[in-house]
């Protein structure tokens, strides 16, 4: 038991549970729908999950500090439009340049959120609801409601979603999915291995203590919003490439999809706990469920959102009850280990000292 407890932290148990749930869903629908899980479905899934999952990574950073970013949907819309327009008029811009532009535009908008929340001390829910509306209105005004269409875009970006690095049989490992995995791995490392990442957890875990702790808490919260904006910009680029047609409504509602993914993925809305990998699994789970319900004739489309809603409630309930208990059990086990085996402990300690 002790070794088990030591090996798995509650968060990891939760991630395993998500993986398990994903498998259950796949098995369930495989029984229900004929020819459900084939290569085409896997390929479609790996493309459709990218936008929300990237947003969920950014949302995780903000969530860890006990904040929200509701403006990401509008940031996706604005970046997709601006990058699309730029490529329309300057098709010679290389792909990496377009990506950098998208991230830059997103960071600019994210920095406005960050300034208001971290330095202006405006609650994030108010700040980002306001910027959600402001960024969207900017898009409507700026675009004069002229949409961007696939015809206006250079070929490379339109073909990007189908681009693959390699394929195993018919299952393709696509470029955009690779991009997503890169983002997940990088930010998982950031959260685990950089002081910045650990301090995000500290701030959400005990904001009062963080204020007097001797590290720049405000700057860290600002940076979380900056990065969330930058990732939303990157998601905007993916959005543009995937859909090609960008109207003023591009990205509406994505903020809620990203929050749903983060919550289902086990990032606590009280801050302080959760992982990027969990958020990724949450996004995958929701996307899988959405796509599967879409193909399942037994259920009317009106129930689809309700089922997703229930999933979110279930996720939060699990977080509060099961994970809460696990945490306590885990902590107790740790205590027992330290009190019951003093000899081993001192040995270890002297060995170190």
């Amino acid at each position: 038991m002790n070794t088990l407890v030591r090996r798995f932290r509650p968060e990891q148990i939760r991630e395993l549970f998500l993986v398990f749930l994903i498998l259950v869903i796949v098995v369930f629908f495989s029984v229900q729908i004929e020819g459900y899980f084939n290569a085409r479905f896997a390929n479609r899934l790996s493309t459709s999950v990218v936008v929300v999952a990237i947003l969920a990574v950014g949302q995780t950073l903000v969530f860890l500090t006990r904040n929200f970013d509701l403006s990401v949907g509008s940031i996706v819309g604005v970046t997709a439009y601006l990058v699309g327009q730029t490529l329309w008029h300057h098709p010679e811009i290389p792909p990496l340049g377009a990506v950098a532009l998208a991230i830059g535009i997103g960071m600019l908008m994210g920095s406005i959120n960050g300034l208001l929340v971290a330095y202006g001390r405006v609650p994030s829910i108010i700040t980002t609801i306001a910027t959600l509306a402001i960024y969207r209105s900017f898009l409507v005004e700026y675009s004069h409601a002229v949409p961007i269409t696939t015809n206006n875009l250079p070929d490379w970006i339109v073909e990007l979603p189908a681009g693959k690095l390699f394929a195993v049989g018919q299952v393709e490992f696509r470029v955009l999915f690779a991009l997503l995995l890169l983002v997940v791995v990088v930010f998982q490392l950031v959260l685990n291995r950089l002081p910045f990442g650990r301090r995000l957890y500290a701030i959400g875990s005990n904001p009062d203590a963080a204020r007097v702790a001797g590290f720049p808490a405000q700057r860290i919260v600002f940076t979380a919003f900056l990065l969330s904006g930058g990732l939303a910009g990157l998601a905007g680029f993916v959005f543009l490439s995937r859909f090609g047609n960008i109207s003023v409504l591009a990205g509406v509602g994505l903020e809620f999809a990203s929050i749903a993914a983060v919550v289902v993925g086990g990032v606590s809305n009280n801050g302080g706990s959760g992982t990027v990998f969990g958020a990724f699994l949450g996004a995958l789970l929701i996307d899988l469920l959405e796509n599967s319900l879409f193909r399942w004739q037994a259920i009317s489309e009106f129930w689809r959102d309700a089922i997703l809603g229930m999933l979110i409630l279930l996720a939060v309930a699990i977080d509060h009850v099961v994970i809460g208990r696990l945490r306590i059990a885990w902590a107790r086990a740790g205590l027992q280990m330290t009190t019951k085996e003093p000899d081993e402990q001192t040995e270890e300690v002297t060995h170190v000292g």
Binding site: L194, P195, R198, A210, V349
Partner: protein, 503 residues
């Protein structure tokens, strides 16, 4: 002795009406444990907050290492090597022990090296002779262990002055002993420790010097060998009682409420008293004695989980404020701002709020006129000073806010009125008015429970006085019997005076 590491010279600090510190000087030497004691409100917290940069002094100067310094915030204090540990440790529950120790460090390189961090954390804990799994989340640690982590953090930051603000308040005796071992080992490493505590025996068992504050002034500062517990208590309480309301003998009416062995797990237990009509029953005790929790239990906010309550001879359960009100109990809270009043609302709305159903007409709408009439009546009766009853209560002075809150509960026509710190934060004049009011209410046949950390006040006002310490009832004193020394002695737990409950 070597030169002082920290010298506070002639420090004064004033908040509105109160002189929190008046010309207080204090030296701290490396390798000494210096105890700071005094009643609630004596100025200990203010002095600590000045040392850690939360407040700045109005007058006086601070020398650190014989050089004058200005400490503007906690980061600057930390940079000098001043750290503070509070009763409630500032811990990050989601991070593990090692991270909690090192989270504030700026010098550990750009990448978190987990292995090295665990090793360093283990080395620091070993130096302190603390056995903890550094990989464990801080969430599950006991308070004592959390404090050990905070001390480890302070050491890792090369602390030179460590302030401990009532670190033992929530610890068991065994944990206190462990903590003191830790504190002594810190002393031997040359750290200067300023120790604030309420349990005098305990404090004197560990300290090298004792400084007593009273009413913002430094009364004495002596070596441990030169003092006794009695001497310290005398220094702490010796004060004129003359400006307080002196109370005539009460007309004890019939028995209203009997409480037997009331308890709430991990909060308080064994509370037993009788409250009579026409009497003021005082509750005294230091911070952490859980007086307020008894009040909250009687009003059903945080119901008790054992013991019995009899009202007029009938046993009853109080599970919510609604039930308490129905039984004729009203509770005026110590925290006006947070729990007592709706600050942006008018005087009228605040007074009628608890009894709104009384002002409804047949359609279920509020009758403004009746509401206003009540408010006007109370404004006259309690002389609430405001331009009109539509004034928002946040614009009133503390004393007038207190009167509005009293009006709110008097409007409920309670048989038993529980007053929690009714005079905290209000000026002397208003204080006297509140005291008169309490006396009038009792004279009219109401039973009053007065919870107060102001010892002279509760001594002067109460017909009988329940003294609590750490959730336990230490004794019940009659008015004639209750002297400051006796009550303080009971509140600090020198002798357990379990008197028979007065009938």
């Amino acid at each position: 002795m070597s030169t002082a590491i920290l010298e506070m010279k002639h420090i004064s600090k004033r908040f509105d009406m109160t002189q929190a510190l008046d010309d207080v000087s204090l030296d701290l030497y490396p390798g000494e444990i210096h105890a700071l004691v005094g009643e609630n409100g004596a100025g200990k917290s203010t002095l600590i907050k000045i040392t850690t940069g939360v407040y700045r002094p109005d007058q006086g100067e601070i020398l650190f290492d014989s050089k004058p310094v200005q400490i503007n915030n906690s980061q600057e204090a930390q940079a000098l090597g001043i750290a503070a540990i509070y009763q409630e440790p500032m811990i990050y529950p989601d991070l593990n022990v090692a991270e909690n120790i090192f989270i504030s460090h700026q010098d550990r390189g750009p990448i978190v090296r987990w292995g090295k961090m665990y090793k360093d954390a283990e080395a620091i804990l070993a130096k302190l002779d603390v056995k903890l799994d550094v990989r464990m989340a801080a969430r599950g640690l006991t308070l004592a262990a959390q404090q050990a982590v905070e001390i480890a953090k302070a050491i890792s930051l090369n602390v030179r002055v460590l302030i401990m603000d009532e670190p033992t308040a929530s610890l068991s005796a065994h944990e206190v002993a462990q903590l003191f071992t830790l504190v002594r080992s810190l002393r031997s490493q040359g750290v200067a420790i300023l120790f604030i505590g309420h349990r005098l025996e305990e404090v004197l068992s560990v300290t090298d010097r004792v400084t007593v504050l009273r009413d913002g002034k430094r009364i004495s500062s002596r070596l441990r060998e030169e003092v006794t517990i009695e001497k310290v208590i005398r220094d702490m309480v010796g004060r004129e009682v003359s400006d307080f309301f002196s109370k005539g003998p009460a007309n004890r009416g019939e028995l209203l409420m009997s409480v037997r062995n009331l308890g709430k797990k991990d909060v308080f237990q064994g509370i037993t008293f009788d409250a009579y009509r026409g009497e003021v029953l005082g509750f005294a005790g230091l911070i952490g004695s859980h007086r307020t929790d008894v009040g909250l239990a009687l009003f059903g906010v945080e119901p008790a989980d054992s013991g019995e309550i009899l009202i007029e001879g009938k046993p009853c359960k109080i599970r919510s404020p609604q039930e308490a009100l129905r039984l004729g109990i009203a509770y005026s809270t110590e925290d006006r701002r947070k729990l007592g009043l709706n600050m942006p609302m008018s005087i009228t709305s605040n007074i009628s709020l608890a009894m709104l159903s009384r002002y409804l007409n047949r359609l279920g709408l509020i009758q403004r006129r009746a509401e206003v009439a009540t408010a006007e009546e109370f404004r006259r009766r309690l002389t609430i000073r405001s331009s009109s009853i539509t004034t928002a209560v946040e614009q009133l002075s503390g004393g007038n806010q207190q009167k509005v809150m009293l009006s709110k509960w008097l409007n409920a026509d309670p048989k038993l009125l529980i007053l929690d710190e009714p005079t905290r934060g209000i000026d002397v004049g208003a204080k006297a008015e509140v005291h008169h009011m309490i006396n009038d209410l009792a004279a009219q046949g109401m039973a009053v429970i007065l919870i107060s950390s102001d010892l002279p006040e509760v001594l002067a006002m109460s017909d009988r006085l329940v003294v609590m310490r750490e959730g336990r009832q230490m004794g019940v004193f009659d008015h004639a019997d209750a002297t400051e020394e006796k009550v303080m002695t009971a509140a600090m737990g020198q002798v357990t005076i379990q008197q028979e409950v007065a009938r």
